[in-house]
Symmetry: D3
């Protein structure tokens, strides 16, 4: 899907050292080593529910660094739709060589696929209208880059975090915070300052719900900036009824009647696929959506890893079928 | 609650540099600077739903490094129960000094409080029976340490990851993976190897659902290890009906009848508060629970930050009440 | 409850003539007359569900004009709470004398009791906070007076229609329409004109949601009128999220911070008992509610009339019990 | 739809005087007058939900009497199906000339459209089988004529009230009350008296549930009246299980077996669209339905009026779109 | 509870021969015999849900005939309330001696306890008002006696079948069928014939819903039989709305007004605990209920039998706990 | 459907004597006799809900023995699908000749049709996979033969009881009880003993859930018996998660991988149509189902008998239509 020139993903030292693993995997490898047992085993990895596979490129980077040369790895590609319980990754390698990484590769796939799948749901609901990943503020900063990257794998057009946009290779996107308007005391003044100091390639999108009614404020900033104003962002708080389709239509009509048909409308605040469909069905002329916690707070898609062969012999724990599970969609990647 | 001698939390460079922030916060500070505006402002931060506050120690470390000396910071303590919309953090400082960190401190609080609250629910359901955080495999390894730490703030007795247990100051806990049993071909042999090679302080807990019926296998390992066996772990897969209260009772009865009353029973696999209550109400003699994705996959508790004062004057965006919100539970921390 | 000096209710000629009746009642009396049959009968009237009895004074006026002197009429009093199927009215009189009025007296009781009961539900939800009946616009003008009267029997403090307030003996109550603000172009100008031209006893209550955000507009009119402003009315349309408890609290806080603690807040727009309870539980400082279609569009409480005696003999149609139904709460009224 | 020769609707004096209006409309006009402001304004009126438009002819009569010559009025026609929020009426006239009538014209449309729409639902459920409006007894006699008229606009074939049938230009329809049967002591005697004294054009329809089982009584009256009996009405009370499809089928079969195939069956008592569909689906041979409170107790369809132009300039309150709303279905009526 | 003089229950030959058993039990005993294996075993029997234990006397008769002298049998008593999964029967005897009877004793307990429990539910709902078991017509005649006996163990006062009443030691109870009324052409004539030909100890209870309205017919038979009429039975079919509380009240009132206060009212037709509670809560003066398919069509309570000891050693299949299950409520019965 | 050579059904003496009847039918015939009334009547019998008609052959045997020569009987055939309220049986005969049998023939039809219909639901869910009736243990042994016969009329391939299989003309079917395995101490030993002592035509199907995991035990018995093993039965108790589709697939896979593709899998334990569909949709390779209480505990389908003619004249009780009800599907059988 996208070329992998240099290592896009940096695997942290504490992952490579096994310190982020469940301790019993460290003990497992210690015991095998003490027993002098190191069979070639085949591990299969599958998701607990369907969704967009994400995290696989990062996993491959981990395995590339960790596994010895005689390894064989098959996988579905980053961004593919995977079915429930479909084998998405198969590793054949000496047991000791990758035992400690089970926690890490399952976690990378689970968390990233959860985010990508939630993003995909929004993108499918929105059709042609672009989605911006706005959810960095709801998750720990250590995974902001990974989350925003996963959101773009799921189809988001851009992301708000600097690190995320960089990893995903898209422009970082954003407008202005309420804090700017409050510190400068007026939306028009804040927008004019933004216009004055920002480089020309940064789109002028004014946040219009801070002090005044959105329709009134939209006209004020449009009159002040004229053709330089690219859009307005509606982020009405729940206490004022959130952004509704009717509000979007009204702001659109008043902007058009005021002579500002080029000014776009960006909608944010509690957006999810259901609300996107509501906007769409009501015909509200939204130009872009900012989606926050629906994507960044999405539940991970749990992945499971099972041994299916030991030294070429089919084997499995109770509840699993011994031997390799056929899946023609898998491609050899290592 | 716990003393803060050295910095327990290491703030990554890309957080301190503002690169993990939403880009509009970087622009906001640039514009203020360009305009020569840098008022002392008061920011208030509150959660969208009630729960266990977590992440506050890490946030204080961030603010300690970031804010200039004239700052004032009030906060609730790590681990406190917070009400919906209660102010949990109040910062008074120059606007330019902490504008770029809004994404980071909200994210730290949101993600950590989500995990701690889910852990608390399990702990309350379990009463005196200890809970082990087993969910590292469902989330990205970059946040495994934070998640396991948060789980212990919520009340978990221990955690499975090395980094998480270290951060939380508890012993890392775990038994053995199915992979060990499969590689060694038999549960009794795997348990004996574990017993032979592990240091004496590591509890001998055998995983008994890999190849044989749990009741049969429990007796086999008990007969093999005798007094050295501390416990058995039941992790029956969904395909075999998961662990049920009846299974626990039966294994207990068969162990007791076989002369092994000291052997404890650890239960894992899809455990959540509802199932813990089910075990409790049915009187199943569980000695410890391992809880995975219910904690690690918990939805973050979204936090919101709002400016309430600029240079001492009450101000607020629409939907908020200007001025400081009284909360006698806040303590000055910086 | 209230003295009945002059006829408060004017019975229209077409009611007295029987023309508003179901035609079969006219035929019924014609046939009795042609057959020379005119027994003394006892009719009992009961409601299909519990509620506030209303319309009984009007019914008594009708019966007073219609019945011959040997009549006997027992009734519950206007405004009493009646139980489901409780006898609320009993008439003993010659069959021919009141046969044609069954449609009319049932209709008066049904419609009026429906309105009074809905009003009572609002009043009980609101506790000490007064309710104004605002629903004239949802029903035919021919019954506006009756509806507003019934609303006050149910406990409303005042009503918006001139005829209704007059019949009920309460002051007509209202603020200003959006049309006034729109015609004068600005809320402050409209409020000032209202203040200039209205007699001093008319309360100055400004409608503040027409052009600007309610919080901003409330402060503008308060600054313009000062002590002469009695209140503001919030009537936010559904397209802007309706009036919420949070909006009321915020407007209150901003008015208080602005130095206008005497300015009251009147809330209208889709108000019903459930929303009143929501405001109350959230602690929103509402000073009065305007309730429209919940009262005026209330479903009538159907009443039924049955013959229970003919010439003193117990009789009844199938499904009813012959003879007078004991009800010690009935009082002789005619 | 139907020609408007003379004024079909008499507008009461208290409507024309504005006394039935909300008092704030009177004040609004007083203030405009005192300020010397009387712009030409355009008011648009729309319903809150879809339905059958009714009351428009009465509104036009009101506007014809009230508005000055330079008025322009566009409207949908009486009886048309209107969509939710579709503009059904547009008035362009001097503000002072019609400001006090907003309460009245909204109320006429709301109440009448509610009744007509409920009637339409019954008519659509019944298909070819005629519906008689029987609900006069559930509403105040002042609006009986309007309600029965609206029911026929909704499709009812006839109505029970004299005034309603006259206004609608249909025959008043009805059978006999239970009181007639009870006063005369026997259904056969009552039916014979009805037959003896009523003019020949009045259909002989006997009410057969008063004293005896409906099947038995139907045969008794059929045997007594023979060919002169047009039908029987089943009005079984809830205490006896109401009229059921099985009862209708059985009465039909017994009448046919007894040699009375011409005797029709009229069904009444708690009839609504759902029960009409139940009768239809079960194949019960009903010849006509009498529908009461489902129509007369129907909730009004709230209408709203908004100013959209002042002196030709687009304007609107928040939540509405300024300027005239295009609707090609509107016709100029004044 | 009741003395067991002679065998109350006759065990059919095909039960004693094992022919009604599942064939694998016959094979099981054959194999044990061929292998020469006949251990003393302990079997425990428990129900799948709580209820009234019934069938135990019949089971004891079976075991008395089948088991050799060295048997030991413990049981709960006929009619006791048993908890879910409580051991209700324990048999210690040679395996070959009772292996073929497992199907039979489980079936007796399951079917009888199901009936008795359903009867108990009706009895508890009815309080002091007697219940007659009327359900023989819904089950195969081979088990009518057993069912009616079980109904009385559950608390029914009498039963309609001759064989059931005899087994239970209660009078057979019933009134007259619709067929009698139809063959004799009139309810009064049928009741008079009943009165003329039946012995004096048979209560005169007339079935009054065949041809005429129940209220009318009740008065007709009361007038005809006077003091000799003990009661009327209302069995109104679903097509006429079933018996309702209102109908019972009305018939009671009309009987009392007619001077027949001694005439009782028996209610039947689709009676179940929910409807009994409905009658009770509405205050309908019912004197007895006839209950049919709610009792006779009740779902059996499945019982399970498990081996818990072989030659005194605790043993059990997976899912059960080896050894005898303590239950102090068990009594030695054989 | 199947030829009726000799009487397949033996009517017990207490049925023929009328002792299993409701006592009022005995009184009814006594009164007719005492009155000298014995009209030729026509009785019609219909079910309260749709289903598979069963019991009709037994009813015909009863009527054949009971009715005098001038009888006429029409009926639907055993096993036909009957619609709700369709006439399934019509008897024309002297009233006294069959009055006492109403309880018996209704009961035979009700109970048998209930069982057959439940069996049909399982058979339709299972498609080509055979169903074995395993429910004898849940019902009284007196009706085991009738139930197993009805199950085969509903489509079951075989039944577990000796008497039921004989009546139905199918082989009795079954494997081995847990008791055999427990008495012999090991599943392999029990299976070998079964194989040694049973005649060759009895299929060798081993019960594999007693002591060990089903997958392990299946392989052990397959290795012991080899080609002589026809199948394994999975009957996992609820305490171990019941039989799941995944378990069946896994046992199948392990048997195939072990070289035993001919070994079939029989599934039992709480099986009903819903679970059969679940197995089918998941693709689990089940070879036969054993169904217990879903069939044997099925609710009877109540039948009702009504007189429709007396001496050729149409007549009926209230709620029924007099005269014969046309049903061209009825065939003359006596």
């Amino acid at each position: 899907m996208r070329p992998m020139a240099q290592p896009k993903f940096i695997i942290p030292a504490e992952v490579l050292s096994g310190e982020t693993a469940d301790i019993y995997f460290l003990r497992y490898v210690d015991i095998l080593r003490a027993e002098g047992v190191n069979p070639i085993v085949t591990m299969e990895v599958f998701p607990s529910r369907e969704g967009v596979l994400c995290g696989m490129e990062e996993v491959q980077e981990l395995l590339r660094q960790a596994l010895p040369p005689q390894r064989k790895v098959w996988a579905l590609a980053e961004g593919e739709w995977m079915r429930r319980k479909e084998v998405a990754l198969r590793i054949t390698a000496p047991a000791q060589s990758f035992g400690v990484y089970e926690t890490a590769y399952l976690g990378m796939l689970s968390h990233s696929s959860g985010w990508a799948t939630a993003a995909r749901e929004c993108v499918e609901a929105a059709g042609d209208i672009p989605i911006i990943s706005f959810g960095a503020r709801h998750i720990h900063p250590r995974v902001v880059a990974i989350m925003d990257y996963a959101a773009t794998v799921g189809g988001c057009a851009s992301a708000s975090s600097v690190v995320g946009a960089r990893l995903a290779g898209v422009p970082a996107s954003g407008t202005m915070p309420h804090a700017l308007v409050i510190c400068l005391g007026d939306t028009v003044r804040a927008t004019a300052a933004f216009d004055k100091h920002m480089p020309p390639e940064v789109p002028r999108i004014s946040l219009v719900d801070t002090f005044k009614d959105e329709a009134e404020e939209s006209l004020r900033v449009a009159q002040a900036l004229g053709k330089r104003l690219q859009g307005v962002r509606l982020d009405t708080p729940a206490e004022r009824g959130r952004v509704t389709p009717e509000l979007v239509k009204e702001v659109r009509a008043r902007l058009d009647q005021g002579g500002f048909p080029w000014v776009q409308i960006v909608v944010s605040g509690g957006i999810d696929p259901e609300r996107i469909r509501l906007f769409k069905e009501s015909g509200a002329p939204v130009d872009a959506y900012g989606v926050g916690s629906y994507i960044s707070g999405a539940r991970p898609i749990d992945f499971t890893a099972d041994l299916h062969e030991v030294e070429g012999r089919p084997v499995a724990k109770r509840g699993r079928i011994p031997g390799q599970t056929p899946n023609p969609r898998l491609k050899r990647v290592l």
